[in-house]
Subunit: 362 residues, 2 copies
């Protein structure tokens, strides 16, 4: 084993489409490329957040081929050769497996941290401490380490991790994982919160590349087969054709379902920085600054007698009178008006537009 | 008196700004120039409606100078020399007085019909019969003739005319007027409807030019003075300067308040064609074709689980999810979203925009 102190290789998963952020997000401009929060794209914010960690060795991004150009020209802090192309979206397990293969070519026994490209994190010191803890833990016995956020509300939109109170990891703010729970109903979420041993599954993970590949070999045999074929061609002329051919055969699967829920000996590091997956317009509303009427306003807008609205107005005036609890997203060619309790249905509209061939606004 | 059968000179009042139809209506494109109903502008529809009346001699339009060019290029059926320029909006009495002066130069003792440029009328045969009745009545003893619509609902947005049931005009479907009532509360409007002797004041009038000028002389002395100065310069080089100078001195006043409410011996012709002053987005909603969800949709729009909305989408897609009873007007540079029970406040937004110097979208 390398004498040098183990460092972290970050893998940012930037393959999402973010259709729930239509009409701001488009096929060619997915959520992670938007600066909906602050003045930078969410991907750039993620890169910057990781760059600031002293123990980070390098940063990689996994994304679709169509995004590579945009990332190279717009994202600072990641070398073009560190962008790993994913032929299509196959959920997180194949994406992470592919990244693991590439990391093995740059270091002997690399530890990788998996970070979604489009999450909001506030509280850098806590974030740094958490990831560092996860890194140290991952180096210990090749553990599989998840990061769980101390929940602040009975949110139904997140998966939860239950940890074993009786099995803390000595010397770490971490526990052995008992179970993973899918998105709960509001009653179940309340119970989770009350119990005190449930954390939000942040989708951030830290492990050795060898550890996760071994787990894939054990629980996702077909994926492992494809990855092995791909691995043999890395750095060779046949890489691209092999990758695309094998990728076509791969079944989409999340790493949570494909690996984590089947494995024993998983750890969770307890984190209490402010975190949101910003998974919908409503989640975006919740994490944004509201004025005294509870309105979140970006761009040119007048609201008369309106409360708790989210308004994005790009390049035009949006005037609202006597309306509450709406999300209004005004772009050059499309305007969305949705009740705040129906934001999950934005995907439905996008599906409908796909069906009717409205690529002009997708 | 001329032996030839008396014909009607129509005067279309096109001086309105229609700010309640913002953002579709703008300073340079007021309501009467919009084709919000059907495929023609409301002014063109008004011209066409009058052109079809066999007893119409000619049609004049009174409008602001800024609109003349647009009217000449866009409106068919009115000679450019028949456009009477109103230096500024001074309500209906000065406008009608000015038109009367001009009509006196083209006929010996003309009968004029006053028609707002932006009302909706459905039922041409009934309309024709009504106006013809009013014309015949106006020729009789120089009467002042109003047109009253049989009300179909206790509308609070209209003025009402109470007629004297005991004093029908023999041989005409008309009555002597008892009183004019301002816009009522909903309770009062219900009482009006129940009483059976109240009609909506349509703002359409028929009288001889000499009759109305004589009434202005009697009840609006200052206006009459100014009109007399203007009259002496018609056809002369000094007309324009005199008009603008006198117009500045004129106090704005409606013909209803300035003349009709002070005069005895007024008639009302009872009309039962479908009529609306289309005075707000909600009035527009009421007269429009609704789909089975009660939505009125013009332009490119998707509504998911939404009822009783009015949507105008010009050149972009408007997508709505889970919202009811909204008016959504989407234009190139401004979007309005207003609860249907708050459409009267659109003027307020326009006022605010004026105050803050937003001429770019006014």
């Amino acid at each position: 084993m390398n004498k040098r102190k183990k460092k972290l290789y970050c893998v940012i998963m930037a393959g999402g489409k973010g259709t729930r952020f239509w009409p701001l997000s488009r096929t060619s401009r997915p959520k992670q490329m938007l600066n909906i929060i602050g003045n930078q794209s969410m991907l750039q914010m993620t890169v910057d957040r990781l760059r600031k960690l002293s123990f980070v060795e390098d940063i990689f991004i996994v994304a679709g081929a169509d995004l590579k150009k945009q990332i190279v020209s717009n994202i600072e802090g990641v070398a073009p050769e560190n962008i790993i192309i994913e032929p299509s979206g196959k959920n997180t397990a194949p994406c992470i497996g592919l990244a693991a293969l590439h990391l093995k070519t740059v270091d002997e026994d690399p530890v990788m941290g998996i970070f979604p490209a489009d999450h909001l994190i506030i509280g850098h010191r806590k974030f740094s401490k958490t990831v560092n803890t996860a890194l140290r833990l991952a180096n210990l016995d090749g553990g599989i380490v998840t990061i769980g956020i101390v929940p602040t509300a009975p949110v139904t939109g997140y998966g939860y991790i239950q940890y074993n109170k009786e099995r803390p990891v000595k010397g770490f703010d971490a526990y052995c994982v008992k179970t993973f729970a899918e998105k709960p109903t509001v009653e179940v979420a309340k119970r989770f919160l009350k119990s005190g041993d449930f954390l939000w599954n942040s989708g951030m993970f830290v492990w050795k590349a060898s550890t996760i590949l071994e787990a894939i070999r054990e629980y996702m045999h077909e994926l492992y087969e494809s990855l092995s074929h791909i691995e043999r061609t890395i750095g060779k002329r046949t890489y691209k054709s092999t990758l695309f051919r094998e990728w076509d055969l791969i079944q989409p699967e999340s790493v949570d379902y494909g690996v984590l829920e089947r494995t024993k000996n998983i750890f969770v590091v307890k984190a209490d920085f402010q975190w949101s997956d910003v998974g919908s317009w409503n989640a975006y509303y919740e994490v944004s600054h509201r004025n005294r009427d509870g309105n979140v306003i970006k761009g040119d807008s007048i609201i008369v007698d309106g409360k708790n609205n989210l308004v994005h107005s790009n390049g035009r005036l949006t005037a609202m009178i006597g309306v509450d609890d709406l999300v209004v997203i005004n772009t050059d060619d499309a305007t969305l008006i949705v009740s705040r309790d129906r934001v999950e249905d934005v995907k439905e509209v996008v599906k409908r537009l796909h069906k009717s061939g409205r690529t002009d606004i997708l």
